[in-house]
Each structure stands twice: as structure tokens, then as C-alpha cells.
């Protein structure tokens, strides 16, 4: 962790409920991930995202949970992405296991991972429009047949 802090001055380190969080600028995402793997975080447990809408200057936040089995330590790396161009480097070359997770984030948030071998929709149908977990994607409703008949006039 110390090595990482020295190598990346652009990274802000915070604590959140006894867990270490590294806020990484989007351009350092890949380099930081690579350095983290060399520093002992051999597993990338999970990749996900949060849509902050207007609550934060950067709308999207990509979150990756790293794990060091040897030191029994977790590290969360997060990066903010602009609403116009939510693009970040894919970390699949470092951890091939996040391939599905990055596809899910792309599917649900429309965040593009550059360098992902197969960035396609994974959970939603291929012809689906929009990205469901964005906050501006309405929950919607399905018209129910015969609903009118329950109304008493």
C-alpha cells in the first residue's frame, strides 16, 4: 500500500468504514491497477459502478474491489467519469476474471471499457435501448389487461 502511495501522487487515499479507498484519476486507472497487482493484490474481486447524477461533478463512479489473499487485505479503487464521455481503460488484460463484470457495467451504465475483448450486453437483450441502472432510466410500468374493469364508476 505504501509503495502504491509513493508511486502515484495523483491518487487520493481515504478510509471508509475501516476499508481503504483509493480515488484514482481515470487516466491512471490501468497503470494503478497494474501496480496494485504487483504490490500483492492478486485478485480483483468485483467491478461495479455508481451513477451519481448531479450530486457530484463526475457523474459516474467505477468501483473495483481488490483483494490480497496473502496479507488478508482489501483495497477499493474508484474513479470518476464525465457524463459526456464515460470511458475508462479495461483492466481485463490484468485480471481476465473481470470480463463479465465490465460487460455488466457497460450493459447497466453504458460505461465503455477500452480494450475489453468482447464489450457487449450481457444481462439485457442485445436490442435493448438505454442502460437500466442509470438514475434517469425510469422504472416504468407494464399496462395490465382488464385493469379498467376493476374501476367502479
Amino acid at each position: 500500500m505504501k509503495v502504491l502511495a509513493e508511486a502515484f501522487e495523483s491518487v487520493t487515499w481515504t478510509e471508509s468504514h475501516e476499508q481503504t479507498v483509493a480515488e484514482v484519476p481515470a487516466e491512471d486507472w490501468y497503470a494503478f491497477a497494474e501496480a496494485a497487482k504487483d504490490a500483492g493484490f492478486e485478485v480483483c474481486v468485483d467491478v461495479t459502478a455508481v451513477d451519481w447524477m448531479r450530486q457530484r461533478p463526475k457523474r459516474f463512479e467505477v468501483v473495483a474491489n481488490l483483494l490480497s489473499m496473502k496479507d488478508k487485505q482489501r483495497l477499493r479503487m474508484v474513479t470518476g467519469l464525465d457524463r459526456q464521455d464515460p470511458t475508462v481503460a479495461s483492466i481485463t488484460p490484468i485480471w481476465p476474471g473481470v470480463g463479465f463484470a465490465e460487460r455488466e457495467v457497460y450493459d447497466m451504465f453504458g460505461i465503455v471499457f477500452e480494450g475489453h475483448p468482447d464489450l457487449t450486453r450481457i444481462l439485457m437483450p442485445d436490442e435493448w435501448e438505454g442502460h437500466p441502472l442509470r438514475k434517469d432510466f425510469g422504472v416504468g410500468s407494464v399496462p395490465v389487461q382488464f385493469k379498467e374493469s376493476h374501476k367502479v364508476n
Binding site: H17, V45, D46, T48, I94, P96, L123, P132
Partner: protein, 446 residues
Amino acid sequence: MTAEEKTLDIWVAGTEEPEFSPTDEGEQEFSDSESEDRLADQYGRVIDDDYVFDDEVADDERMVVNMGPQHPSTHGVLRLQLEMEGEVIRRTKPIIGYLHTGMEKTAEQLTFSQGPTNVTRMDYLAPLHGELAYSLAVERLLDVEVPPRAAAIRILMTELNRVSSHLVALATNGMDIGALSMMIYGFRERESILAFFEKTTGLRMNHNFIRPGGVAADLPPGWKDDVSAILKDMPERMEQYDDLLRNNPIWLARTEGVGVITAEEATAYSITGPALRATGVDWDIRKAFPYSGIDQYEFDVPVGENGDVYDRYRVRVEEMHESLKIVEQVMDSMPKGDYRVGDRKITPPPRARIDESMEALIHHFKLFTEGFKVPAGETYVAVESPRGELGCYLVSDGNATPYRMHTRAPSFYNLQALPIAMGDSLVADTIATIASMDPVMGDVDR
């Protein structure tokens, strides 16, 4: 004939010279020995699933076969595209999403106290683990400590759930390979645990029993007798299954050396749970990041060697014995006290108090109409589910509903490793490998 000569053949004088770019095909051919490239692939430094076909294989020898989504051996609605050369699988592509119901979006509409009803439907074979991960995440954001009895009940229930989930894994594993009697026995034993769950929680699955702030109800009268009966019968019965499967040469031939995953591949592909431990990696969330006071009980973490279907089976059987050991210790040392926190801002008051106290009525009304507010913040909590690391990433912005709830589903990641486990294996081994990874499609698609 070199490539340049070939282009000269079709170039007509007087026309523009065609641009020729050499492809990188041919560089990716597999070799018999472990080359640098292959090792890099295994260690997860590069992804290389592009199999370059041998030109000598006739065209009609290759085919793409769709397996699922409506196939009895895919454990739900999993669809696999198998690219085969004769009977050998060269490439596999899992296609998922057939059971996607948008539970992470639903979680944003439900209050924190309604949340467990949602997460319990994800991994429907281990519903209590989903509830536990969610509740622990909410409690960490609230900075609440549950009473010792609540923590002990949680461990008792989740460890019994692990046994019942592994029993299904064993049962379906046997059934898929042809040991049909195993299916009947496995489900019979699971029934005894589900009966106890029904008595305690009111439901056989989707319990909504573990809630933020404790558990929904205290253990029913006579619970010790029920648990003792399970503890007495189970080891004896499990011995019988071991005899049934381990002494069965057909079953052994179909599992040993099949669907092998190495330890390097397992860590590179974020595999967790019994599938990871079968490769020889000693990793268990219960030991590394103990939750709910599980560190006060004694148990071992069984580890395999070869990472094949047989080892995954063996690890599961050993884990069931360890879980029963924990259940026995919890039963003997069950602390007295309340089964949920006394803070009425989080847990509802007892029903009798509502008739007597205005305060209690207000608390009850507020809790069930708008729920409780959770301080802003985010956290990641993981528990060891029967399938691996079940994590809950919870973000709150200070309201009564989560701003974002993400579940790190173990089946989702384990499923991703199917192409590696099945590379260059026979098509008949496909279902053995799927069954040994024990994916629950509700967990995969969420």
C-alpha cells in the same frame, strides 16, 4: 508460395496496387509444451481464447452446438455455445441473462428494512447468506452491533443453509452424471433442514429472516431437539453417499481429472468458494474476514489438490462436516438475550407494546411507512456463501432507501471460468463440469 507472390497473381497491371496487411494468424497456434505465451495465458496476463483451426480437419467436423437455455442439466436457464471439433470442445461461450429481473434496480426502490426480501431471492439455494451480507452492510453503515444471540442465530442458520445447499449440489452432481439415486437421497436430507427452516422462519426458502438489526424472530421452542436430530442423522447418511459415489467406478471415471482448473487460473478469474479451494488455495472469508462472531467457533477449511470435478465434490463433502461441527458448537453455546437490537429506530417494537405505548405505536408506524434512514457512505461486506464470496456493495446517500446496492454474485464469476475448465474436453464432460461449479442462475443474473 509466399503471400507477396499471391497478391501479384491477382494484381492487374495499370490498376492501383492492392494494400496487403499480414494477419497475425498463425502466431496463436497452440503448442504441446508450455510456451511463454501459454504460461502468460494461464497466469492471466493475457487473454487468449482464439483457437486457430487446423486446416486438415474437414469442414463438416466442426460445428457450433447450442446447449440450453432449456436444458435439464444446465441448472436453470444457462445457455452455452459450444464450438466443437468432432466430440472435442474447442471453445465455449456462456450466454446469460435469461433470468435477469433487475434486482439491483428494485433494491433502490425498497427501504433498508424491505431489502432482505429482495436479496433473498437472488441465490435461492442459499437465501440466508444473501440476507446476511445485506444486513451486515446496512449495520456497518449504521454502526450498529447486534446482540450475541442474534449473531449466533445467524451463524446457526447460515451454516445449516450451507449444508442444505451443498446437498443440492451433490444431488444434482450425481444426477447429471447418471447416479440418479443420489438425487433422491440428497433432496431427502435437505428436506429435514428445510423443515427446521420452515419452523423457524415460516418459509422453506426466501426466508427474509436475517434483517438489519438482528433476526426476525427467536428460535422456536424445541429447536435444540430438531437441530440435534439433524446433527445425529446427517454424518451417518453422508457416509452412505460417500460409499454410493466414491466406490462407484463409473462415477470416479467421470469426475477424476475432468474440468481441471489450476490455482493460477482460479485467482486470475476471481473464482471463489469450493471451486477455488479445490485447486489447493486455502482461502475462506470466514477465516480471513470473520463475520458475525464466527471466529469463536473451531472449524477447518478443507482444501483440494487437483482442481477437478472430483476435488470440488470432496471439498463440498468435507465442508458439510465442518459446517455441522460449527452448528454443534453454536447449539451448545447459544447465548441468552435479545435476538435483535433494542434500538426502536431500527427494529420494530414488540406487538404487545403497541397497545400500551404511544411511543411504540409511532415507532412502528414510522418504520413500516418510511423506514429508517442510514447515514451517507459506502461499504463492501462479504460473506462466504456455499458458492464463494458473496459481497454486498451498499451506497447510501442518507435516505431510507439504498442509493445503490450491488451484489458480488459468486456464481456470476465462477461461471465465467467454464470456458477454461472445459477447454479441449469431451462434450460428455460438459454437464459434469457445470454441475461441479454449482451455479445458481438466480445468483448469476440477479
